[in-house]
Every structure is written in structure tokens, then in C-alpha cells.
């Protein structure tokens, strides 16, 4: 199949449709408005539903309703809008509803800026809403990778009955890259495979088949049982679903940890440093939840030091340190707000670490 040159937002939207998404609920916000714009044109063509909600809060609750019927549903927003969705996301996690949520991060806190950022890492992986829950969280580093992950995102969401979050940034959705699109999946809800879905029970039907989508537990013991069940699912996900990439880490003296767009900048820096004869690699978590703790420790067992680079205050740095538990020297470099770390800055930071004997 031929390659086309696509903008990240268009490509991710089309990939979701090809993975079976037929319901989009959202509200425009830069830098991801091209996603709803694309969906508004595309959904009617394929018999799907595009609905611009009155707010992000309404949109995520529409996702809750549609996902409750077993349909493949998606919503997208950017940082401040995703903050508004957190209550609904926690409800969906509690009610065990498979769905896909896109966060195209922009600068924060608050309204921040419309330029790219990675400031929502904590919100994404440490629980933005209330309660003990997790979302399988993918942080793609290229448009093609986002398309590829979207092809199995719904399968994972449905297998574990958890919401899936894509943690992208403004650059990822605004840039254009050559991509190949997968074929269209014709997804049909199968009530046998989704016995939990509310697919139209009526009086007289088998009472055992009545599905109730809910996250409220009146009886505290039942809530404990429910939470224990969720924890068992999260343990399975931790065991099975971690994804990461090791870039030139085998012989590396220094490893840079980074995710998303920043990982690409880190790779440019690693390549430049290797030309100087300094062996640098990059460890990139693709799932930021579950975080590949053991894999990071293994990949860095022979290095002198680790440099974590992010477009935030060093939010993932906490997980990097947890992975290493003090076994190696670590440093952080980055900017808060909307300023991307540059290749030049990363190179300078590695030089500085070498000078300090790290």
C-alpha cells in the first residue's frame, strides 16, 4: 500500500476509525482541533457518529454511555480539556469501560499555552481522577507508531476492560510524516463476548443477562472485592503489556530516558554524541503506564549514568529513579511550559555530566 503524507491529528483519527471506532464525542481545543474536525467529516461517511458535546465533561460522559453498550468509542482533547474529563475517566475506570482517550498535551498549568508540552505525565499515570485505578497509557513517538498502537488499543481495552489513554503532544499532532494506513476493521458488538455490555435488556428477558453500568458500590465489602478485582487486572497488565524501546543502549556509557517527541530529540543528541566517540543510548518507555521499571534497570546495568530529559519538571524522572533505586547516578534536564529541550542542550548536559565525573 502506498505511503501518504499525513498530519498526526488526521492520521490518528483515521487510524481509530480503521480500528473500529464509530463514535466520537469531543470539544475543540488547540492543538488537537484537527481531530474533531477530521472526525466530523469522516464519521458520517462510514455510518458512525460525530457529536460535538457542550463541554469536555459532557463528552467523556457520552463516551461512558456509548462504551457501556460495547461500542468502540473515542474522545480527544488537550491538557486543560483532559483535566475536565478526569471525573468521567475515573468513573469509566470504575465501571470497567473499554474506550480510547487522546490527550494532545499543551503547556500548563491552567490554560498555559497552545504550544507542545509533556506536563500531564503525572495526571496520566499517577491517576488524574479519584480512586485506585490505572489507564493503559501509550506515549507514541511518531505518527506511524501512533497508528500502529491504535490498531490494538481497542483489543487491549476490551481484553482488560480498562480505558486506554494516548499521551501525545502538540508536535505529534501538528507535524506531518509519511505513513501507511492499515485496512479498515468492521467492528460489530458481540453480546456473547461482551456480556457486561448494556445491549437492550427488556422485562421478560433473562434477569441474569441484565447489564448495569455503574461505579457506585453501596456495600463497602463489595467495593473492596471490586477493587481487589481491579488490582488483579492491573497486575496482569503490568505483567503483559509493557512496551519500551532501547536505542543503542547495548554498549552505552550514558543512557538518556525520554518519551514521546522528546525521545526523538534525545536520539538526535545520542547520534551526535556517538560521532564524538561518546557512547550514548536512549531508553524510551512506549507504555508510560505500565512503566517498564525492570527493563530500564536491565538496559542501564552497565552505564556510568542516566540522564532523564523531558518537556516538564521531570515528572517521569520519578519513575526512572524508582526503577534504579539509587543503583546509578541520575540527572534530569528539561523545561517546563512549552519549550522543547534541544539537541544542543542535551549534548551540553552530557558533556557537563562527564566533566563532573559521572
Amino acid at each position: 500500500m502506498a505511503l501518504t503524507l499525513m498530519k498526526g491529528s488526521e492520521a490518528i483519527a483515521e487510524a481509530a476509525i480503521r480500528a473500529g471506532a464509530r463514535f466520537f464525542f469531543g470539544y475543540p481545543i488547540t492543538p488537537q482541533t484537527e481531530i474533531p474536525e477530521y472526525m466530523s467529516a469522516r464519521m458520517p461517511e462510514i455510518g458512525g457518529c460525530y457529536l460535538q458535546a457542550e463541554s469536555e465533561v459532557a463528552a467523556i460522559n457520552m463516551v461512558y454511555g456509548a462504551a457501556g453498550t460495547g461500542a468502540r468509542v473515542i474522545t480527544s482533547s488537550s491538557s486543560p480539556g483532559v483535566s475536565l474529563k478526569q471525573e468521567g475517566i475515573s468513573y469509566a475506570a470504575g465501571a470497567q469501560l473499554p474506550c480510547v482517550i487522546l490527550n494532545v498535551m499543551r503547556g500548563g498549568p491552567g490554560l498555559g499555552s497552545i504550544q507542545a508540552s509533556q506536563g500531564d505525565y503525572f495526571q496520566a499515570v499517577k491517576g488524574g481522577g479519584n480512586g485506585d485505578y490505572h489507564l493503559i497509557t501509550y506515549a507514541p513517538s511518531s505518527i506511524q507508531e501512533a497508528i500502529d498502537i491504535m490498531q490494538f488499543a481497542y483489543d487491549k481495552a476490551e481484553k482488560y476492560r480498562v480505558p486506554v489513554l494516548f499521551l501525545a503532544d502538540g508536535i505529534m499532532c501538528q507535524m506531518m510524516e509519511p505513513v501507511e494506513m492499515p485496512p479498515m476493521v468492521e467492528y460489530k458488538v458481540d453480546p456473547e463476548k461482551k456480556p457486561w455490555a448494556a445491549t437492550g435488556w427488556k422485562p421478560g428477558d433473562d434477569p441474569a443477562k441484565r447489564a448495569v453500568i455503574n461505579s457506585l458500590y453501596i456495600n463497602t465489602e463489595e467495593l473492596t472485592v471490586h477493587n481487589n478485582h481491579l488490582q488483579a487486572i492491573y497486575a496482569e497488565i503490568r505483567k503483559n503489556e509493557k512496551m519500551w524501546e532501547c536505542y543503542k543502549t547495548e554498549d552505552a556509557d550514558y543512557v538518556i530516558t525520554a518519551f514521546g517527541t522528546v525521545a526523538r530529540i534525545a536520539k538526535s543528541a545520542a547520534d551526535s554524541l556517538r560521532k564524538e566517540g561518546i557512547k550514548v543510548g536512549v531508553f524510551r518507555p512506549i507504555t508510560v503506564w505500565p512503566f517498564p521499571y525492570e527493563e530500564l534497570k536491565e538496559a542501564t546495568k552497565n552505564v556510568k549514568a542516566i540522564l532523564d530529559v523531558e518537556a516538564n519538571e521531570g515528572q517521569m524522572y520519578e519513575d526512572v529513579k524508582l526503577a534504579l533505586l539509587g543503583s546509578k547516578p541520575t540527572e534530569y534536564f528539561g523545561h517546563c511550559g512549552s519549550l522543547m529541550p534541544s539537541t544542543t542542550e542535551i549534548i551540553a548536559k552530557i558533556h557537563e555530566m562527564m566533566k563532573e565525573g559521572k
Binding site: T4, E10, G107, A116, I171, Q174, M175, S268
Partner: protein
């Protein structure tokens, strides 16, 4: 005589990259002004610090509030300098599609006062973009842009590319489709542009010069830190 190039086209067709190339070439021999007239995009535009430094000898005019958190840009009065001042070459880099080309309508009177042969309104075409991948789609966008810009397109540019994955096949496939667009719309192919190696390989294939126009080898200036690594299939 002052020469004006207005670059319009579908999003992602490569207008900004071409505008920089046109301006840099013109600046070798004359006084040049380049205008960032993209009133739609908030990311990746002509007015980026890295691009500006390379434009030392070229005057750059940008909309108010570019690269800030303001989503509704406004046209600065300086755009008038394109018409009022004595440049050898002026290049307009306009936003994509009909929405982007609307910004030109404001200068209709100024454009109309130009003499015959001073103005080239060029539709930059990249058939690897989904919405300009067929003859019908290109013609539709072309017609819409003419209405919204209040300008007549004088020529097309075959700038078909796949960013980092480009080969001469892009220009060849673009040639076939744009040839048909030209036959149906009556608008000539004014230029064919691409990186020198691909352009040379394409030209060596011996296609009809009528549908190639003037070949323009280009360099890529819009490079960014994250560009060095792209996952392709």
C-alpha cells in the same frame, strides 16, 4: 520590475519550504521580502526563530501574535509594504486550502493594480496528501481557493513529496495527475520542484516539458530537532 509570487495550496503541500527557497534564490540578486500570511496554523510556520536567522538579507513580515498562545492571528499593516515599497521580489506564503487563502482577499485592490506579468499566483500541489490525491480533489480545492483569494491561479507547482521518504516516484506520480488537472482546468504547470537528486532523476525520464514547467531544485530549511528519527513502515 517588481515580481510577486503568491503560494497557495492544500495543507501540507510544501508552500512554506518553497517560499523560503524562492526568497533565498531571489535574494541572491535583488531586494526581497517574504510574507508569512498563514492565518490558520498555530504550529510550524515561516516565522520560527530558526528560519528567521537564515533570512538575514530578506525582510520577513509575520502576522501579529505568531508563535504565541493567541489562536486568532491578525494581519499587520506591514503587509502593505509588499505593494508600497520598491522590492525586486516579493513572496507570499499563504495558509492552506480555501480557508488559508481567504487572507489574500483583503489585498485584492493592490493585486489588481499590478502590471501584466508582475504577479504569479501558484497552486502548490502534493498528490501524496490525502485531500489532493486525485484530479477531482485538486480541481475542487483549486476552484475554492480562487474564489476565496479573489485571485486567478496562473500556474501550478508539482511539489509532490513524502517528506523524508521522498523519491523521484513522487514527482512522476504527481506529473501524471497534475498533467490531467492542467488539461482539464487550462491552468499551466509553471514549476516542478524537489530535492536536486530526485528532480534530476525525474527529469532524466524524459517527460513532456509542457507539464513540467521550470524545474526548481530546492533545499530543505524547515529542519527540526526531532526530524532525524522517523518511524516508517
Amino acid at each position: 520590475m517588481k515580481k510577486m509570487y503568491v503560494l497557495i495550496g492544500n495543507y501540507g503541500s510544501g508552500k512554506t519550504e518553497l517560499a523560503i527557497n524562492f526568497a533565498l534564490r531571489a535574494a541572491e540578486t535583488g531586494r526581497t521580502e517574504i510574507l508569512d500570511l498563514d492565518m490558520v496554523n498555530t504550529y510550524f510556520r515561516l516565522t520560527e526563530p530558526g528560519i528567521m536567522t537564515r533570512m538575514k538579507e530578506i525582510r520577513l513580515v509575520s502576522p501579529n501574535f505568531t508563535n504565541s498562545s493567541v489562536e486568532t492571528l491578525s494581519l499587520p499593516a506591514e503587509v502593505q509594504s509588499a505593494f508600497a515599497m520598491d522590492w525586486d521580489t516579493v513572496v507570499f506564503d499563504v495558509g492552506g486550502d480555501a480557508a488559508g487563502s481567504t487572507a489574500l482577499g483583503r489585498y485584492h485592490q493592490d493585486f489588481m493594480e499590478l502590471e501584466e506579468g508582475q504577479l504569479e499566483v501558484l497552486n502548490v500541489i502534493n498528490i501524496r496528501r490525502p485531500l489532493s490525491g486525485t484530479v477531482d480533489r485538486i480541481i475542487r480545492i483549486q476552484n475554492e481557493m480562487q474564489v476565496h483569494s479573489r485571485l486567478k491561479i496562473t500556474g501550478m507547482i508539482n511539489n509532490t513529496n513524502l517528506s523524508v521518504a521522498t523519491t523521484e516516484a513522487e514527482l512522476r506520480d504527481g506529473y501524471e495527475i497534475i498533467k490531467e488537472v492542467s488539461e482539464r482546468s487550462g491552468i499551466p504547470v509553471a514549476y516542478t520542484s524537489g530535492k536536486k537528486e530526485f528532480l534530476d532523476a525525474f527529469l532524466a525520464e524524459g517527460h513532456d516539458p509542457k507539464y513540467i514547467g521550470t524545474p526548481v531544485p530546492i533545499d530543505v530549511y524547515m529542519k527540526r530537532d526531532w526530524d532525524s528519527w522517523v518511524k516508517t513502515v
